[in-house]
């Protein structure tokens, strides 16, 4: 019973409470840039989730064999190898997505969330729990990035780009928005603005919840 509770806890904490983008900001580094198209955000999320799960699995299996002195180096080597594998697979099987992600596909290797989970969770927990933790974090990361991408693409371009399936080119055009879109939201400035406003929304929600429970409100800031 208790083990089941901790497993679901491991999974759910990545979705909201420790969301890698909105709460801990760890997934932000080389990911926010690809949030200009929904398809790129979904692809980036999937790629990061795969590397994250494989890294957590390997690190938790190898935790007794890696000496403390070279731990960072060993983790970096594991993550770089796995992200190289994912890069080669993406290049071979999803070339369009790989071209869209460009430099950022290679930068998955330095995504802070992967290094953080390897260092703070997989290093101390069993392989099963580490994989579940990585799955939760991966889903939370993908959902948050897709939310940002959805706002940026709908308002900034009037479209929603998904993946082409059998004859359909994969692009939904929102009527009425395409004629006069807010172009700046599709640029890098838009990524900062949309993230800033969404983060403020999350903070407001958390503060309302905290005051409802009678807990003291901090200054609305974590991290």
């Amino acid at each position: 019973m208790t083990s089941r509770n901790t497993l679901s806890e491991d999974l759910m904490k990545g979705l909201v409470r420790e969301n890698p983008i909105f709460m801990t900001l760890l997934g932000l580094c080389p990911a926010l840039a690809v949030s200009n198209k929904v398809s790129s955000a979904l692809g980036m999320g999937a790629a990061v989730a795969i590397v994250l799960i494989a890294t957590n699995f390997l690190v938790s299996l190898l935790k007794d064999f890696i000496p403390g002195k070279v731990r960072t180096l060993a983790h970096v080597a594991i993550i770089a190898t796995l992200s190289t594998i994912v890069n080669l697979l993406m290049h071979a099987y999803t070339p369009a997505l790989f071209a869209d992600l460009g430099l950022y596909a290679q930068l998955i290797a330095v995504n802070c969330i992967i290094i953080d989970r390897a260092n703070s969770f997989a290093r101390e927990n069993s392989a099963g729990r580490s994989v579940v933790d990585a799955l939760g974090m991966g889903i939370g990361f993908t959902l948050a990035l897709t939310l940002i991408a959805l706002l940026r693409e709908v308002l900034g371009n009037g479209t929603i780009t998904l993946f082409p399936v059998a004859g359909w080119n994969g692009t939904l055009i929102i009527p009425g928005l395409g004629a006069a879109p807010i172009k700046v939201l599709g640029m890098s400035a838009g990524a900062f603005l949309v993230f800033g406003y969404l983060k403020a929304m999350f903070n407001a929600y958390r503060m309302r919840k905290a005051s409802g429970e009678g807990a003291d409100i901090k200054s609305g800031q974590i991290a």
């Binding site: 900001l25 760890l26 932000l28 580094c29 080389p30 926010l32 840039a33 960072t72 180096l73 970096v76 080597a77 770089a80 190898t81 992200s83 190289t84 890069n87 080669l88 430099l103 290679q106 930068l107 290797a109 330095v110 995504n111 802070c112 290094i115 700046v184 640029m187 890098s188 400035a189 838009g190 990524a191 900062f192 603005l193 993230f195 800033g196 406003y197 983060k199 403020a200 929304m201 903070n203 407001a204 503060m207 409100i217 200054s219 609305g220 800031q221 974590i222 991290a223």
Partner: protein
């Protein structure tokens, strides 16, 4: 590209933070105070210049001749980790002042997407060794510029009344967004007019 072109491109037109959105985590964490922003920015200038040069050497003298360029992420990351370790040792040996001003920011650069980013950008752009060094240096200067300006803005914002949910990270991001909009002025047309 000319050296002046490289400098203007990577400090202003293609600023790593504001245009490529790299190094955001260290960027939001050090810009609470001006001195830490300047410290990280200076460390970034040194590490980026050396990283761009070293990765050029390894890429063109080892990876390319052997035909193993698919290993570039792994080798580049290991080079950067080693480089940062060596720089940390040097600052520890040399003097207390250098260590206290730069030493505490070096560990943040071990696994930093901006450092790996400029190394990959320089390799992808097919620069010569000196052009890579210049690109790394100017990207570092661009990072220093943006962190110092941002830290000044945030120190000023501390004195203003800000709605509670916006305090801290959100207002920093909205300000960065406005700054990024201002940086849109430095585009290729600007570059072409300036250089004739």
């Amino acid at each position: 590209m000319t050296y002046i072109g490289i400098i203007i491109t990577y400090t202003l037109v293609q600023n790593l933070v504001l245009v490529d959105l790299l190094g955001l985590y260290s960027y939001v964490n050090v810009t609470r105070r001006l001195d830490s922003a300047a410290g990280l920015g200076l460390a970034m200038v040194i590490v980026m210049s050396l990283a761009a040069l070293l990765t050029w050497v390894i890429y063109h003298l080892v990876l390319l001749p052997l035909g193993i360029t698919f290993l570039q992420i792994l080798t580049f990351l290991l080079i950067i980790v080693g480089l940062v370790q060596i720089l940390e040792m040097i600052t520890k040996w040399s003097s207390g002042a250098l260590h206290s001003s730069l030493g505490s920011y070096l560990p943040m650069l071990t696994v930093n997407c901006a450092v790996l980013g400029i190394a990959l950008i320089a390799v992808n752009a097919n620069y010569s060794a000196f052009e890579s060094l210049f690109a790394g240096f100017s990207a570092g200067i661009g990072f220093l510029l943006v962190t110092v300006v941002m830290a000044s803005i945030r120190e000023r914002l501390d004195l203003e009344w800000i709605p509670k949910p916006f305090r801290g990270i959100p207002i920093a991001f909205v300000s960065a967004g406005l700054m990024a909009m201002a940086f849109l002025g430095f585009d290729t047309a600007f570059l072409r007019n300036l250089l004739g």
